[in-house]
């Protein structure tokens, strides 16, 4: 039976529970053991989790998701469960409340299985910036799973959780999904509540599903989207999310931006991506080139705006009320300095400094103001492109999973991992990554992006393409 359970997608598992083929408790226990084994294996494991449930919760009856277990990225606040955002400064922090999106998913019938590892405060593309050690890629344990939602991606790919929640600021769902051969979707900014998500960059952060297939992503997302009165930036989507059913792409025009498919993209990735585009054409899609002239500036703008917001968002970690407080301080300023010196890792400090500089008096307009104008230009580029094409297709990441430690000494090389995903984040539009094949035995992701609130269309297209590509994720399961 265990082998059979591992074969089920989350949607299938929910259906099985509803049909009485498997009990929610049995399914939870199955995954709890697998996740617990990974945690207990320490450095011999994948390092996916920062916390695993001790007991199976009472299976929720009469709910649409019937008790399917859910892994949740560490940075979501979960009441009385450690929520540390991968940081030493929040080590052991137990929030008194649960994030809106997690609470919604619990009401819909998911059970909290585990909290997953991540780059500290979601700053990173490899999950090597976690204070609690790296997560390994289940396809090749010498390689990174991507990041910052690397724990969620690796856990789903390895079959340690049926599905997971991630967050995406500049690619933190899509890039690890691509590197681990799973599906990851970043929704339209504002459609999923940010209340209870430990913030990195507020104007970009967005929660999304990380799943084995497109149907699971759609099902999980359908229980996440809602206007939240506790989040002033949350929106009511104009139409209800439809679960995907398309098998063809007739009448769909895919635009391929030259700016994101040229220099800097690994040859093997590009070949796999182009092969997937040919499959799309076979399904009836027409493929043409579009231009996003400002997309090459996206990364520069992002590395002003996101650190600027982060420098302010992370000011609250001062040792006064919760989390780490360094001892031996002589006065208040000394306490702040020591706490933040000891509590934050190198990448977080780098971004706090970048952001503080960008917001400084006299530099604000040259950096923050300028970056905001670039952001507007990029959004206009997309709006223009969507007048010509329905969806935009790019490789999700410029390379397949890279080696552990390969880019930790070169922050700029690491930042380039998000080259293809950051433009969509700045524009606030939805984008999904699906696995489209292997290059050198490692997964390659294909990214589809659409206009704001086009999630149903996006999922439909991804669904059709997924069927045609028939990617096999089984080799990653442990």
């Amino acid at each position: 039976m265990s082998g059979d359970l591992l074969e089920l997608t989350a949607s299938q598992a929910a259906a099985e529970i509803a049909a009485g083929g498997v009990s929610a408790r049995e399914l939870f226990e199955f995954y709890r053991e697998r996740a617990g084994a990974d945690r207990d294996a320490g450095e011999q494991g994948l390092g996916c989790f920062t916390w695993v449930a001790e007991d199976a919760p009472e299976p929720p009856a009469g709910t649409p998701l019937g008790g399917v277990p859910l892994a949740v990225k560490d940075l979501f606040c979960t009441e009385d469960v450690p929520s540390q955002s991968g940081s030493r400064i929040l080590e052991g922090y137990l929030p008194p409340y649960t994030a809106t999106v997690v609470a919604r998913l619990q009401e819909a019938g998911t059970s909290l299985l585990a909290k997953t590892n991540q780059d500290e405060f979601a700053m990173g593309s490899s999950t090597e910036n976690s204070a609690f050690g790296p997560t390994l890629n289940p396809w090749d344990r010498t390689r990174v799973p991507g990041g910052s939602s690397g724990g969620s991606a690796a856990a789903v790919a390895a079959g340690l959780a049926p599905w997971a929640l991630g967050t995406d600021t500049g690619g933190s769902i899509r890039q690890p999904a691509a590197l681990c051969g799973i599906v990851g979707l970043k929704p339209t900014y504002g459609t999923v509540s940010r209340y209870g998500m430990i913030a990195f960059a507020s104007s970009l952060d967005q929660a999304g599903p990380m799943t084995r297939d497109v149907a699971d992503a759609a099902l999980l997302l359908s229980h996440m989207v809602a206007r939240d009165p506790c989040d002033a930036t949350s929106l009511q989507a104009p139409s209800k999310l439809e679960l995907p059913s398309a098998e063809r792409l007739d009448g769909v025009t895919l635009g391929v931006p030259g700016e994101l498919t040229g220099e800097g993209i690994e040859a093997g990735v590009l070949d796999t991506f182009n092969a997937a585009l040919r499959r799309a054409e076979e399904l009836g899609a027409s493929v043409r080139e579009v231009h996003l002239p400002n997309a090459p500036h996206a990364l520069s703008a992002y590395y002003v705006l996101a650190p600027a917001e982060a420098s302010s968002n992370l000011a609250r970690y001062d040792g006064v009320r919760y989390g780490l407080r360094a001892g031996g301080a002589e006065d208040l300023i000394d306490m702040y300095t020591r706490t933040r010196h000891d509590g934050f890792g190198a990448e977080v400090k780098r971004r706090i400094m970048l952001g503080t500089y960008a917001l400084s008096s006299g530099y604000y307009d040259a950096y923050y103001g300028h970056a905001q104008r670039v952001r507007t230009k990029i959004a206009e580029d997309f709006a223009g492109a969507f007048e010509e094409v329905d969806l935009i297709a790019t490789p999700t990441a410029p390379s397949v999973a890279f080696g552990l430690g390969e880019k930790t000494g070169d922050p700029l090389a690491m930042y380039l991992s998000d080259y293809c995903t950051v433009p969509m984040s700045l524009a606030g539009i939805p984008a999904i990554s699906i696995p489209c094949g292997l290059s050198g035995g490692l997964p390659v992701g294909l990214q589809l992006a659409g206009p704001a609130f086009s999630e149903s269309r996006l999922l439909d297209a991804a669904h059709a393409l997924e069927r045609a590509l028939a990617f096999d994720g089984a080799p990653a399961r442990v």
């Binding site: 940075l75 979501f76 606040c77 929520s83 955002s85 929040l90 922090y93 929030p95 008194p96 409340y97 994030a99 940010r194 209340y195 209870g196 998500m197 430990i198 913030a199 960059a201 507020s202 104007s203 009165p229 506790c230 989040d231 002033a232 930036t233 600027a308 917001e309 420098s311 302010s312 992370l314 000011a315 609250r316 001062d318 006064v320 009320r321 919760y322 208040l332 702040y336 503080t356 917001l359 400084s360 008096s361 604000y364 923050y368």
Partner: protein
Amino acid sequence: MSEDGAQRSNGAAAGRFEAVIGLEIHVQLATATKMFCGCPLSFGDPPNTHTCAVCLGLPGSLPVANARAVHFGLMIGLALGSELAPRSLFHRKNYFYPDLPKGYQISQYSEPLCSGGELGGVRIHRVHLEEDAAKLIHVGASGRIHGSEQSLVDFNRGGTPLAEIVTEPDIRSAEQAGEWLKLLRSTLRALGVSDVNMEQGSLRADANISVRPAGSSELGVKTELKNMNSFRFIERGIRAELARQEEIVSAGGRVELQTLHFDPDSGSITSLRSKEEAHDYRYFPDPDLVPVAIGAEMIEAARAAMAELPAARAERLQAEVGLSTETARALSFRGELGDFFERALAAAAACSTEAQPQALANWLTVELVPRLDDIEDPADSRVTPEALASLVALVSAKQVSVGVGRQVLERLVADGGDPGAIVASEGLTAISDEGELARIVAEAVAANEDAAERVRAGNAKAIGPIVGHVMRETKGRADGAEVSRLIHAQLGA
């Protein structure tokens, strides 16, 4: 010319300087809940009993702006004649302090809710909304963070909505600053947007102070004076700082740009921080909040919610009730006096013999208020508006003399009661029988022959001893003017 200039630079005497003062007033808005969360506002409750994830700045929490605070802010803007922003934006003001749980204060910067305006001859620079800091309690002898053994934080106050009202530097003296603040307070009280209680901190004022040679139009280097939590301290603090600056400049020195702390106990002024330590607040638009679009219906709702303001009340009391300009202002700028007056006026209208409005106002401001000592609002005294109205009616109808009226007022202040009943039980009714009064006057003239002779000789002032005699005999019940007329008649002078 040069000699005159040289003299000045060698040290101008006090009085050669002009004070230039601008005020920054923080007003706690009397909303039900805090600026960005659902916690109730409170004062004096046990520490940290009105807090939540948002006002404690817990990880993951997000602010949502309080629509009622925006409504109150618009009412203030309308009352001050400000221009209301079509779109209002919240910024983050970044700095570290233990009373600021997020490491930034949500405030307004480049797009305040209200810009410009004027009140009582002082121009308004801007009005913006922000959140209050938490309260620090420093355990130890100093009572301040330096030298304290321990500092505790009470987050009950943290997140309370504030309107910050900033004036232009139009104020020229400490006294004017105090008077203007009273006008602002009564305006805000009339709007009903704040408790405006300085002792409880719902009205707090900082002053930007500089001096310059009288007649100059340039601005000197200013200092910011903080911690003046009563009207008395504001005037004392500003006076002390003006004296300090005048002394520096007189001695040929330069005033240093800095933030100062006024200690009301010692009257001393100490530096909190100088320019070198000034913060770079790194303002930027708060990405957790969306801009507030100020629609016509919001402005209409604010206008509809506004009661009559002091300036308008003064005009009405003058034009419709017939009070003098000075009296109308005195009653309007201290709203509690205006309220007491209008209640007394309504009661007087019900009396058979009406009290004259101006007489009623004079009895209130000249006779009653000075007798109330520490009681600021006459409504809190034992004298009811009805009692004052009936007393003034008795005096106006000459049923009691002015002197008896004052006696009765003393009784009312001490014990309360009804003036008519006091007059009746004490036999204080004015002597209206002219024959009886004429007899007492004749006796008085006879008893004061010297004075009578001088009055006959044309010295009108000599009448005093004779009047005094009559008043003693009648225990003040005689009408002064009538007595004077009878004396002159009897002496043929």
